[in-house]
Symmetry: C2
Subunit: 251 residues, 2 copies
């Protein structure tokens, strides 16, 4: 078995490290040539290749790029023709646009590991990043293909969970996307509070940790799921407003 | 040296365990006799005593109760007269009402360890709970008394930080109290989202963890710091609303 990883950042690098730990050969590509070299240098991948070589040679091809380049690679694969890996999957945080873009792409199963790190790049990769975590996938309608995808997910230590693209995006809006917005907003308020650094509680530390995540990456994710995120953000803002009014009454 | 702990819950129990680990004798009291027995049973305290015996015999007396019973004990100590420990301190999350109540109480230095657990009771106590954490205290104006209080705080593994009661309450409103309200509000929204359990991100997990904390205890804390908390809650709600509007524009 050969695993091809398109994008060797923190997620792609973690997939690569774990696959290699399993004794699998891993080929990698990254649009950033220094990132690709770093991945080869630290042993995350066996060989660097271009995207078409990955498609020609991998049995499992993982598009582990941010949303916009992942969508572009999916479009490129659709028009590439030729031999296709037995499984093509991705790791993007929003699944409706991916499922739409991939319609008609052979052997594609959309995926999303519920794991991450606030750091980016292959130096943030860990082979145990997915251990015990849920890895959502969107059933393709082809049971054998789905089984191959699930076997791959399980081989990385994660637990596959079948969910439709629409359900996925509705759910992660509240479980992951709204907390990210809260983190950015909260971090801004905290920065304005003089002397706060030494009196952080545990949630403050966690929110500040994820507020360090790449805002460009998150802007794309939030925009791609904006209907769900806006709805849940407004619900949370309304709940906070209500809590404030309830508290004001006790003053 | 004898440490007296008034209230042997998770915080008082952790203080007791660490003090005993340091070789210090620890006497304890709790209004809940079964909690007091449990503290004795698990070796957190050497002996159970009533509040007046603690005052008579302890060198350091820590009022480790929730806000309301802590204020009541401070009032009781003020009118008790007689011998007073060399340091009397507390651990409540709000300092202005404590400082007001303790005005005129001999040897009192208000304190607040920036550490906690979502679980309660002595079974949640850990001797290393304060290790490396900040422990805020309100300088009393008596340098020798403050030094004794700081020595005690340091002996528990924490780092003392001098802060006025007003500054403390202004800062913890955003670093600790607002996150707690966010956790309660967020947990409510999440409960309303079908199928969310398996797709939690790291912040969702942290918010749900602290949303399990005793709402009665927190209602008292939030009410006692409501001016600061309401101000910061409304700022956060407004930021979330604004983020929602910005996102809506990209739809």
């Amino acid at each position: 078995v050969i695993v091809g990883v398109f994008g060797v950042g923190a997620i792609g690098g973690s997939i690569a490290l774990r696959a290699r730990q399993n004794g699998t050969r891993v080929f990698g590509y990254d649009s950033d040539s220094s990132a690709l070299e770093a991945a080869k240098g630290c042993g995350a991948i066996d060989e660097a290749m271009d995207p078409d070589e990955l498609r020609e040679r991998a049995d499992v091809l993982v598009i582990a790029a941010h949303l916009a380049p992942a969508l572009a690679e999916i479009a490129r694969l659709k028009s590439a023709g030729g031999r296709m890996p037995a499984v093509v999957t991705d790791v993007a945080s929003v699944k409706v646009p991916v499922a739409q873009a991939a319609r008609g792409l052979e052997n594609f199963v959309a995926g999303h590991p519920m794991a991450g790190t606030e750091r980016s790049g292959v130096t943030a990769a860990r082979p145990d990043l997915f251990e015990g975590r849920t890895w959502a996938y969107v059933p393709s309608g082809d049971a054998q293909l789905d089984e191959r995808a699930c076997d791959f997910i399980s081989s990385l230590g994660a637990t596959p969970l079948a969910v439709s693209a629409e359900e996925h995006d509705r759910i992660v809006a509240i479980t992951s996307h709204v907390p990210q917005v809260v983190a950015y907003c909260y971090a801004r308020l905290l920065t304005d509070t003089e002397g706060a650094e030494q009196l952080y509680g545990p949630v403050a530390r966690e929110l500040l940790r994820i507020a360090k995540m790449d805002p460009t990456m998150w802007r794309d994710i939030l925009a791609a799921n904006s209907v769900n995120v806006v709805r849940d953000l407004r619900s949370l803002a309304a709940e906070l407003e209500k809590a404030g009014s309830d508290l004001k009454r006790v003053q």
